[in-house]
């Protein structure tokens, strides 16, 4: 039978749908706003919070976390998680510090490459186990969190690399600037920018979003899921390794415990930054903003002379607030879309 009918649906370019996509962008705006409020309040209380030295300190402190958050955001977007980043930072920091203390003349670039390499190998192990061992990422990286840390402890055997054993140029790297921007901050900015552009404008980035949005559909769409997944884990590992080098350069003293418990900070930064834990949405620069917000809260509390014990509680409350906000936004979008489609 043939039935003629005229479509009754809304015309193209519906304003509600456009508003819905606008809501996506508000998420990062929310963090910027929260950050601005916090800085303004703190600065009114103590104007030195806005001094050059203070801003520099905050950015330097954020750099390491932001580099790791970039890698973590990419992994989380694919609907996975990498809990081993703290341990990868530890093993990389110790490896690089040991190397540099034994070979005082090695240039900085070698240290950076070694850190990236160590991290990439650790990430590759994670990726292979997740993809080919079919072991959930949470389990794999919880396991390697223990394993990598154990390896570092066994290797270090209680020893420590002190600032005086490290070459001068390695230590000054953390504080040297180029055009007034410290190297550490510059590296973090480059990593964040590269990550953001890759995820937004390149095919592989969109494929990573697709994989997180619907893993089964990604396989069927012919996306090279294995390659991309390994890539995401290698990247996360490599960036944690890079963070290890930056850690060693900045703090000068490295023992086997370096970066213990960092994984929770990194995941917190990513979640606060608006990356959904079930993948498919969020941005790298949102995660970086999350890292900045968490760091600034820490230093603001110290400046505001608020009992430092509140810091952790505030971070926890912030994470919950962030996911509640995400939920609210998602709910609003769903409702606006439903209204649009509704015939009643």
């Amino acid at each position: 039978m043939t039935i003629t009918s005229t479509p009754t649906k809304a015309p193209l370019g519906n304003p509600v749908a456009q508003k819905a996509s606008g809501l996506f962008k508000q998420r990062e705006l929310g963090i910027v706003l929260a950050l601005a409020l916090l800085v303004a309040y703190t600065a009114i209380d103590n104007p030195r919070f806005l001094s050059g030295q203070s801003i520099r300190d905050n950015l330097l402190n954020t750099a390491i976390l932001a580099v790791m958050a970039t890698g973590q955001a990419i992994v989380v977007i694919t609907r996975n998680i990498d809990l081993s980043v703290g341990s990868v930072l530890g093993i990389s920091a110790f490896a690089v510090a040991t190397l540099m203390s034994k070979n005082q003349d090695l240039p900085m670039i070698v240290a950076l490459l070694v850190g990236l390499g160590v991290g990439a190998v650790a990430g590759l192990v994670n990726g292979v186990l997740v993809r080919y061992g079919k072991v959930p990422a949470l389990v794999v990286t919880l396991g390697t969190l223990y394993i990598y840390r154990g390896i570092t402890y066994s290797w270090a055997g209680g020893s420590q690399v002190n600032a005086d054993e490290l070459p001068r140029h390695f230590l000054t790297f953390a504080n040297d600037s180029i055009l007034g921007i410290p190297w550490l901050v510059l590296i973090a900015l480059v990593v964040i920018a590269a990550g953001s552009i890759m995820m937004r404008n390149y095919r592989v980035g969109r494929e990573l979003y697709a994989m997180g949005s619907s893993p089964a559909a990604a396989e069927l769409a012919g996306i090279k899921v294995a390659r991309n997944l390994l890539g995401a884990f290698v990247l996360s590992g490599a960036l944690a390794g890079l963070a290890g080098v930056l850690y060693a350069a900045r703090f000068g003293t490295v023992d086997a415990a370096a970066g213990t418990g960092y994984e929770l900070n990194v995941v917190a930064a990513v979640v606060v930054g608006g990356v959904a834990v079930f993948g498919g949405s969020g941005t790298v620069w949102g995660a970086a903003l999350g890292a900045l917000l968490l760091t600034v809260i820490g230093s603001a509390l110290a400046v505001l002379d608020i009992n430092q014990f509140w810091q952790q509680a505030i971070v926890g409350a912030l994470i919950i607030l962030a996911i509640c906000a995400d939920r609210l936004v998602a709910f609003r979008i769903a409702r606006s879309l439903r209204k649009r489609d509704a015939h009643v």
């Binding site: 270090a156 420590q160 600032a163 005086d164 086997a256 415990a257 400046v303 430092q308």
Partner: protein, 357 residues
């Protein structure tokens, strides 16, 4: 649903079970008699007893991989070698009392003769230490004491009074005789640091310190990064600060590192208690003019000798008993089983290269 409320109920019942164990209702803080502590068999000392060889002496620092305690136990190892004993080092990766308890239990099982321990919590390790003592193991504390009733002797690196005075004196010197100073301590609860800071405050109340103003005591939790950030916070909050006094090796290193890399270098002095190896760089680049510390290796060394003397029956831990501690000479046990190492050493650019720990 129904089922889960029942589960809840059973959990509650289990809790009541615990509660019901004390039939007398209402044990409060005031009514509780502190009856903890194993009854130690009173033994008499024989100063002339033969020093035993082959004693199993185990060191249990707050945590492994802490450079300061590494130096301490290093001294202990030397002493155990001199005593022809068996040296053992165990310890947790995190500075928590609960992991320490597991290690104490293991040492009991292994029937060590002496446990030399730096307690992460003065009370949490007590039950286990008392079990050890009940198993005829001598317990010596160093670095950080456990409750008096669960150890045989405590090696005190220096008297509280001495360190507090020394800190105040260095602060005055470094601040140039006047101005604001701040303290960057370990944890707000660290027994040692708090008692030193108390003495220091009493000193500061004296007329010769009247121009010094202690503006803040910050806590870096003996965590490198936290201490680093606290140092930043101090300078942001108190721009006129003249000196930071850090009575902890982690704190002083972190503060010195921050100052040396910031625009405050040369304007703000750092002093306190630190390890020469960690501080060498900052002393040489003039961030730090002077700091102090006892020789940590001597602590471990003395602890090993004290333990051996006790296990050999030469001493029991009673006040006034004397024993010989190898190269360090003769020591006398003070009140409450304390053995004081001696006065701290001050390190400056001139002498720092003579020390390697």
């Amino acid at each position: 649903m129904l089922r889960s409320s029942r589960t809840l109920l059973s959990v509650g019942t289990a809790a009541l079970l615990v509660t019901g164990l004390s039939a007398c209702g209402g044990t409060t803080k005031d009514s509780a008699s502190n009856s903890g502590g194993g009854a130690q068999v009173a033994a008499s000392a024989d100063p002339n007893a033969q020093a035993k060889e082959g004693l199993k002496i185990a060191f249990l620092p707050k945590q492994l991989n802490n450079p300061y305690s590494d130096v301490e136990v290093g001294g202990g190892k030397v002493a155990v070698g001199e005593l022809k004993g068996e040296y053992k080092l165990v310890g947790p990766n995190d500075a928590s009392a609960s992991s320490q308890v597991s290690y104490i239990n293991t040492l009991i099982q292994q029937q060590q003769d002496v446990i030399v321990v730096a307690a992460n919590d003065p009370n949490a390790v007590c039950p286990s230490l008392n079990q050890a003592r009940a198993a005829k193991i001598k317990v010596i504390t160093f670095d950080s004491d456990a409750s008096k009733d669960c150890r045989d002797a405590f090696i005190n690196q220096a008297t509280t009074q001495g360190i507090g005075e020394s800190l105040a004196k260095m602060a005055l010197e470094q601040a140039g005789g006047a101005g604001e100073i701040a303290v960057l301590s370990a944890t707000p609860n660290a027994t040692n640091q708090n008692s030193w800071i108390d003495v220091m405050k009493k000193e500061l109340a004296k007329p010769e310190y009247s121009k010094l103003k202690l503006v803040k005591v910050a806590y870096g939790n003996d965590d490198d990064q936290k201490s680093f950030q606290e140092a930043q916070g101090l300078l942001q909050s108190y721009p006129n600060l003249k000196a930071i006094v850090a009575p902890t090796t982690v704190g002083i290193a972190a503060a010195a590192r921050y100052i040396s890399s910031s625009s405050y270098k040369g304007k703000v002095a750092v002093t306190g208690l630190g390890l020469p190896n960690q501080m060498r760089e900052y002393v040489k680049d003039d961030t730090v003019k002077k700091f102090a510390l006892w020789n940590p290796a001597d602590i471990g060394y003395l602890a090993a000798y004290a333990g051996a003397a006790m296990a050999s029956g030469q001493i029991t831990g009673a006040e006034g008993e004397k024993f010989k501690a190898g190269k360090l000479g003769e020591y006398t046990i003070g009140a409450g089983g304390e053995i004081v190492l001696g006065p701290p050493t001050e390190f400056t650019k001139a002498n720092i290269d003579e020390f390697n720990f």
